[in-house]
């Protein structure tokens, strides 16, 4: 299971939880798995098959615009963070 760190605006979808444990071989699968636990999560993080442009994914501490096909290992930590620059 990977650990997903839920940003505060999305915690209402997850009954207030700051982290969610879920399984997925890729980032996309992982976000789908979180969506199953926290309905609405997918829509808030993905747009047109990509992580939303205003968001960035931090995989084990390194933030980057990862694609949904990025492989995820069982003990990875995945955080959803705002993209730097903040422009829209």
């Amino acid at each position: 299971m990977a650990t997903v760190i839920v940003p505060s605006p999305l915690r209402p979808l997850c009954e207030g939880a700051a982290t969610v444990e879920a399984a997925g071989a890729t980032l996309g699968e992982l976000l789908r798995a979180v969506d199953a636990i926290c309905p609405g999560f997918w829509e808030r993080t993905v747009e047109d098959g990509r992580v939303r442009p205003e968001l960035s994914i931090a995989l084990n501490g390194h933030a980057h615009r990862y694609g949904l096909s990025e492989p995820i290992a069982p003990r990875d930590e995945v955080a959803i963070v705002p993209a730097l620059g903040g422009g829209r």
């Binding site: 442009p53 931090a58 980057h64 955080a79 705002p82 730097l84 620059g85 422009g87 829209r88």
Partner: protein, 754 residues
């Protein structure tokens, strides 16, 4: 220098002369405005005299009728753009906003907003022709500060804009607040209730400009077959190409952007202003067109960085910072996209704070759309938080550096985003500042004071690609695509020389145009020495692999039996079998043909940068003048590739911060006119305003880079505003919460003149 586990490098860590140096000290280097082409004509841009106005109509017929005029364009000449976002590397921008920024649509949203552009037989004639363009404006009341813009009855820049709220929903009513974001963690109220002491203040900062000495420029040639060549001074030729393709609806392959030398950028030369206008004018008149800004245009119509309003409340318990509640509202300018989120995410990152709530508001106002400026958002936010931390340290009776060390973030500490820090060097950097001769020397004398502050910046990674060609004589040509603003040709050539075990002088780097090298993201985010350096390293490894294979072929052995050591090919068991790099380079034809190395990376682990600054000031209480007596900056560079240019980044960032702290501001009148849009009254520091800036390079290698490199360019501007305010407080006993801390503000506050 504080050095941790640093391997013995041959080239890295030396201070060679930069490859482009001679051209730059002899005046031969060609910057954007130095482009001269056959049949070149010049243009000029008509700009809105109003900060906020509806444009009822634009009549260009009289201008077009002038014999000197070759072309006139307005927003109507721009194609409709797709509703997409363009990722320029240092932030994303909506294409429609960009289109409306380069030429105003039905509204002028700031004074200086481009409304039309003209090409004529000379620059003087183009300027004169602007008078012949009739624009019918309906002036509207301008909104000039975040506080005014956030009022319920504020005039709206865009009647259709709704606030994107923390929960993702849009507000019911229209607003100038484009977005409200929030970070929360822990139990804030309990922490405040349990605190030994709580400090709380509000802070205000003004819009400031990067202040690069070279004004923006753009030269374009649009051929009848729809191919476009653009020569410009930019931090990112590929970003310019992407934006032009989007705005002009051209295939990317049809656009060639030639990056000229650039006279400073600091984030402000990522966006485009003149390039699309020059392109449209060239299309219309069939000749190459050059546009340049004057200094007033640069101030009024490019992208400065945000001013804003901040509120902070911090708590301490037993010497530990237990709670932080901070609200930041930043001016985005005419279109959404202030760096408020970056500020929000940076300001607490030097520390371990368990309980927090951070609110960030992105607010549009009738000022130019902000652009990136060196660690965008972080200096303003640090001005708030680092002053409050200074107060907390006093409340806790602690030395301000010891207090910071006690509360410092380290590997594993979680930031407010929930992300854990990788290996970082804040503690080592605090230690270096604390042990410095400066901090160990007492400060004496009346009206003098010392201040310290810490700063954090994420640094960026992103994409880089390079090609290196090995010549028969053993020299190497390195083709890269990263604009060299401050010596990166040198730092990249050094990393390739190190990887190949050859002398620095044997590597010759060239910054190529967009047709001639693979994609490179902008020179920004302190990424070039790090990320393009990683690409260079990959190219070096690629060459190494090929050399080993070729040596194996020559020696008729297995590749496993060949090693590449110190620039030499060696056989594992036969000591007589050796080839130098140059020897093997001379045998390319017989070993497989031209030898090229390729490096193409998405750099994902930039490694954060920390700086800790110590400053001594003297305040003249009668005139309000603040003199910088001594300044020391300690900063974690990971590994300093070219220490002189690392020091240069540190010194330059500090001095921009000193200007921001003491004198620089956009001074607006109530109509939204910037009254000090010149280098006379926008007061950047001169050589006479400064002492030498002492630097301490700390090296905590970045595990995410083969040589441990961390970006160094941006973080030096983060602490100065707060460090200087803390020093002035130490000198005067008065806390200044508004920037700039100009002589006017100092005398007015110290003598209660307001």
């Amino acid at each position: 220098m504080t050095t941790i586990e640093k391997p013995a490098y041959k080239v890295i860590g030396t201070r060679p002369i930069r490859p482009d140096g001679v051209e730059k000290v002899t005046g031969k280097a060609l910057y954007g405005a130095d482009v001269h082409l056959p049949d070149l004509v010049h243009g000029a841009v008509l700009r809105s005299p109003h900060a906020h106005a509806r444009i009822r109509s634009i009549d260009t017929s009289a201008a077009e009728a002038l014999p000197s005029v070759l072309a006139v364009v307005t927003h109507a000449d721009l194609p409709a753009v797709a509703d997409t976002v363009i990722d320029t590397g240092e932030g994303v921008t909506r294409a429609s906003d960009m289109s409306l920024n380069v030429l105003a649509g039905d509204k002028a949203l700031y004074r200086g907003h481009a409304v039309a552009a003209v090409a004529a037989t000379s620059a003087h004639e183009a300027l004169a022709a602007l008078d012949a363009i009739a624009v019918d404006y309906e002036p509207l009341p301008p909104v000039l500060s975040v506080r005014d813009a956030m009022r319920a009855d504020a005039p709206l820049l865009d009647e259709n804009r709704r606030t994107k709220q923390p929960d993702g929903a849009l507000s019911d009513g229209p607003s100038n607040v484009a977005a409200h974001s929030r970070f929360e963690g822990g139990d804030l109220e309990a922490a405040f209730a349990d605190a030994d002491a709580v400090v709380e203040r509000e802070f205000d900062t003004k819009m400031v400009h990067q202040g690069y000495i070279e004004p923006h420029n753009g030269t374009a040639n649009w051929n009848p077959d729809g191919t476009l060549t653009v020569w410009t001074s930019t931090q990112g030729a590929f970003a310019v190409r992407a934006m032009l393709a989007e705005l002009l609806r051209l295939p990317v392959s049809r656009i060639r952007v030639v990056p000229m030398e650039i006279g400073g950028g600091f984030g402000g030369k990522i966006g485009i202003y003149l390039e699309p206008l020059a392109a449209l004018l060239s299309r219309e008149c069939g000749r190459p067109v050059q546009l340049t800004m004057d200094r007033t245009d640069v101030f009024q119509a490019t992208g400065p960085t945000s001013g804003g309003h901040m509120k902070g409340r911090l708590a301490v318990k037993d010497g530990v910072i237990t709670a932080a509640e901070v609200s930041l509202a930043f001016e985005a300018g005419a279109f959404p996209g202030s760096p408020v989120m970056a500020g929000a995410m940076c300001m607490l990152s030097p520390y371990d704070v368990a309980n927090f709530r951070v609110d960030a508001y992105d607010v549009v106002v009738n000022k130019p759309k902000v652009a990136a400026y060196r660690a965008p958002g972080a200096p303003n936010a640090a001005f708030c938080v680092e002053q409050l931390i200074d107060e907390l340290a006093r409340e806790a009776n602690a030395d301000p550096l010891a207090f910071r060390l006690r509360n410092s973030a380290r590997e594993g500490t979680r930031m407010i985003t929930g992300v854990a820090h990788p290996r970082i060097g804040h503690e080592e950097t605090i230690g270096a500042a604390r042990d410095s001769d400066h901090y160990q020397s007492p400060i004496e004398g009346p009206n003098r004071g010392r201040g310290v502050a810490s700063g954090f910046w994420f640094n960026a990674g992103m994409q880089s690609s390079v090609v290196a060609s090995v010549n028969p004589d053993g020299t190497v040509n390195l083709i890269e695509g990263s604009t060299d603003i401050g010596g990166t040709r040198a730092s990249l050539a050094m990393q390739l020389a190190e990887t190949l075990g050859i002398p620095y002088d044997d590597v010759r780097p060239t910054v190529a145009d967009t047709d001639s090298v693979g994609h490179n993201d902008v020179t920004g985010g302190s990424r070039t020495a790090y990320a393009s350096g990683q690409a260079v390293y990959e190219a070096g490894l690629d060459i190494q692999r090929q050399l080993v294979e070729r040596a194996a072929r020559l020696w008729e052995c297995e590749a496993e039996d060949v090693s590449f050591v110190d620039g030499e090919l060696r056989h594992a068991s036969d000591a007589d079998r050796r080839l130098t790099f140059a020897e093997l380079a001379g045998k390319q034809m017989e070993t497989g043909g031209p030898l090229q190395g390729r490096g193409s990376v998405v750099a994902r682990s930039p490694g954060a940068a920390y700086g800790v600054h110590v400053v001594d000031v003297e305040v003249d209480p009668d005139t309000g003048k603040v003199d910088i007596l001594r300044y020391t900056i300690a900063q974690d560079a990971g590994t300093a590739v070219h220490p002189a240019y690392v020091e240069g980044q540190m010194q330059g960032g500090v001095v921009q911060g000193i200007g921001w702290a003491l004198n620089e501001e956009y001074y607006y009148n109530e109509d939204g006119r910037m009254e000090n849009a010149s280098f006379l009254d926008y007061r950047m520091p001169t050589s006479l305003d400064l002492p030498m800036i002492d630097t301490i390079i700390v090296e905590v290698p970045n595990p995410g880079h083969p040589y441990g490199v961390r970006g160094v360019g941006e973080v030096p501007i983060v602490p100065p505003l707060a460090a200087i305010a803390n020093a002035i407080h130490d000198a005067t006993g008065h806390r200044f919460t508004e920037l700039p801390i100009s002589p006017r503000r100092v005398v007015e506050e110290l003598h209660h003149l307001r």
